[in-house]
């Protein structure tokens, strides 16, 4: 069972920026994720879709190193396995992604100042960081609310700020956890353009969890589908989920690989 994972190939050399090997995760003996192998090239935009409870958020938490897998490893450029979240992995959540007690500008500056020893920049560094923050706010269209607190911003503006803040820390991969799930359809469309533009500018490697299939195919280069390949009707919790489909979304979403051949037959 299981086909060898697709390896991004460039001139005959396997290029894997993010490498996931033999990943399992279970909570209290109950498997959530099983047998996940994945290679993602630098600059790829990977959408992760699936039904609720299929473990896609768990997978994102593992990518973020917010929790450790029961088995298996995740490495960025063959670096060490991360044991806790850090500056390598930027993240934008559906909610609570910006700090409510900091102004919009201070939220961006925080991406620089939080990495210092006590959390404050030196007097000299502060002005430069503020200027950089203002330039970013100008770029993401939030310059006019630089001194406002996030609570006064619309949902779309808050998410734009959260993405700008995450990118300011210059992470190596950016994780988006249902970033547009709480937005109205119009705002969501403009956020799609916003993310596409920023991605073109930065060449960031992005993982996005979404429950919106169309959104996943529109933004992603690849769409990973999480589902349970094995299903015991008497014990629905017996097996965990894995990547059942890996679609190439660059050419209109024609699947170039099906990871689990026996999936459809078992899952009635």
């Amino acid at each position: 069972m299981g086909v060898a994972p697709r390896l991004p190939v460039d001139g005959g050399v396997v290029v894997s920026f993010v490498r996931v090997r033999g990943l399992w995760q279970s909570y209290g003996g109950r498997p959530i994720l099983e047998r996940i192998d994945l290679d993602v090239a630098k600059g790829e935009f990977v959408s992760i879709v699936g039904a609720s409870g299929c473990g896609k958020s768990t997978f994102l938490r593992l990518l973020l190193a917010e929790e450790m897998p029961s088995r298996g490893t995740i490495r960025i450029e063959d670096g060490p396995v991360a044991r806790e979240p850090g500056r390598e992995r930027g993240v934008v959540f559906q909610r609570y992604s910006v700090f409510p007690h900091l102004t919009v500008r201070a939220n961006v500056v925080a991406a620089e100042s939080f990495a210092t020893r006590r959390g404050w920049l030196s007097r000299a560094g502060r002005q430069a960081a503020r200027d950089r923050a203002d330039a970013l706010l100008e770029r993401i269209g939030l310059a006019h609310v630089a001194d406002a607190y996030p609570a006064t911003l619309s949902g779309g503006m808050q998410q734009r700020l959260a993405i700008g803040q995450a990118l300011t820390a210059r992470p190596r991969i950016l994780l988006l956890d249902e970033p547009f799930g709480a937005l109205d359809p119009g705002t969501r469309l403009s956020m799609h353009d916003f993310v596409s533009e920023l991605r073109a500018e930065t060449g960031m490697t992005i993982f996005m969890v979404t429950h919106d299939l169309a959104e996943g195919f529109k933004l992603g280069d690849r769409v990973l589908v999480f589902d349970k390949p094995r299903w015991d009707p008497h014990e629905p919790e017996a097996f965990g989920a894995t990547i059942t489909y890996d679609f190439d979304a660059r050419h209109g979403g024609i699947p170039y690989q099906i990871k689990e051949d026996d999936h459809a037959a078992i899952h009635a």
Partner: protein
């Protein structure tokens, strides 16, 4: 229309708010009139005019023996004890509450301990405090501190734990260390709740203060009330009670004002 959907107008709201105060005042005046009509020497419910005269005398005419205005001395002594006691409790519980809320190891160590300690009735410890710390200022301040610190600590640790997981993770992805998370994420979001917790525990703090002063003291608002009780000087007692109420209200109002000014991002939730 259902009662739950009926709201008073602005003007009616003001009248309604004043109603209980007016009713209380009226009940007192009537009761006082009845007792004084039966016995002009009655001391239990002095006429409002008598209380007013006593209040003016207490606040303006120095005590003939010491040449001091006793009410200001009492106020100063009591407020000082209250401020030091509450301040100490706030400082201890801020540090302890943040540590318990942020660090799993300290949470395992102290959460149960604080929960048990907060069940000890502080007033039952008062004799112990007098024995250990003597009858001076320290025992009164310590009573206030141990009286409210456990409650504040539990409240603040819960507030820190209630900060969304997303914010804690986000701070880490921006490179924040534990210290930076404490100083730049948890502390600023906990301070407004510290002020809120202090406001809630001020009632208890006053209780402990007056109890300690009543038992052993030579100056203070509680001391004075329990001293003049021997002479049934209800006019002085009531003046002090009203004065304490005014002080407590002023402190509460000031704290709320400070909270609103210092934490504008909290919006209307204070």
């Amino acid at each position: 229309m259902r009662l739950v959907n009926r709201h008073p107008s602005r003007r009616a709201a003001i009248v309604l708010a004043a109603l209980p105060f007016a009713a209380l005042a009226l009940a007192y005046v009537v009761g006082s009139e009845i007792r004084l009509a039966a016995n002009p020497q009655d001391k239990l419910l002095p006429a409002p005019g008598t209380i007013w005269e006593t209040a003016v005398r207490l606040f303006t005419v120095p005590d003939p023996r010491s040449g001091e205005l006793l009410v200001w001395q009492d106020t100063w002594a009591s407020l000082r004890r209250l401020a030091i006691g509450v301040g100490l409790a706030a400082a201890i519980s801020l540090v302890l509450g943040m540590a318990i809320g942020l660090l799993p190891y300290l949470r395992r160590t102290f959460a149960g301990f604080v929960a048990v300690i907060s069940m000890v009735p502080p007033l039952a410890l008062l004799p112990v405090l007098f024995i250990v710390f003597g009858l001076g200022e320290v025992s009164k301040i310590v009573l206030i501190t141990i009286g409210i610190a456990p409650f504040l600590t539990r409240d603040l640790s819960q507030r820190v734990l209630a900060i969304p997981r997303e914010q804690m993770v986000k701070a880490q992805t921006l490179g924040a260390s534990s210290l930076v998370i404490a100083l730049r994420v948890a502390l600023p979001q906990t301070l407004p709740h510290l002020i809120g917790g202090v406001r809630l525990s001020l009632g208890a703090a006053w209780l402990f203060l007056i109890a300690a002063e009543a038992v052993a003291s030579d100056v203070g608002l509680g001391y004075r009330i329990f001293l003049v009780r021997r002479y049934l000087a209800m006019d002085i007692i009531l003046t002090y009670v009203i004065w304490i109420t005014v002080l407590a209200f002023a402190i509460d109002w000031t704290l709320r004002w400070v909270s609103r000014r210092a934490f504008p991002w909290m919006g209307a939730s204070l």
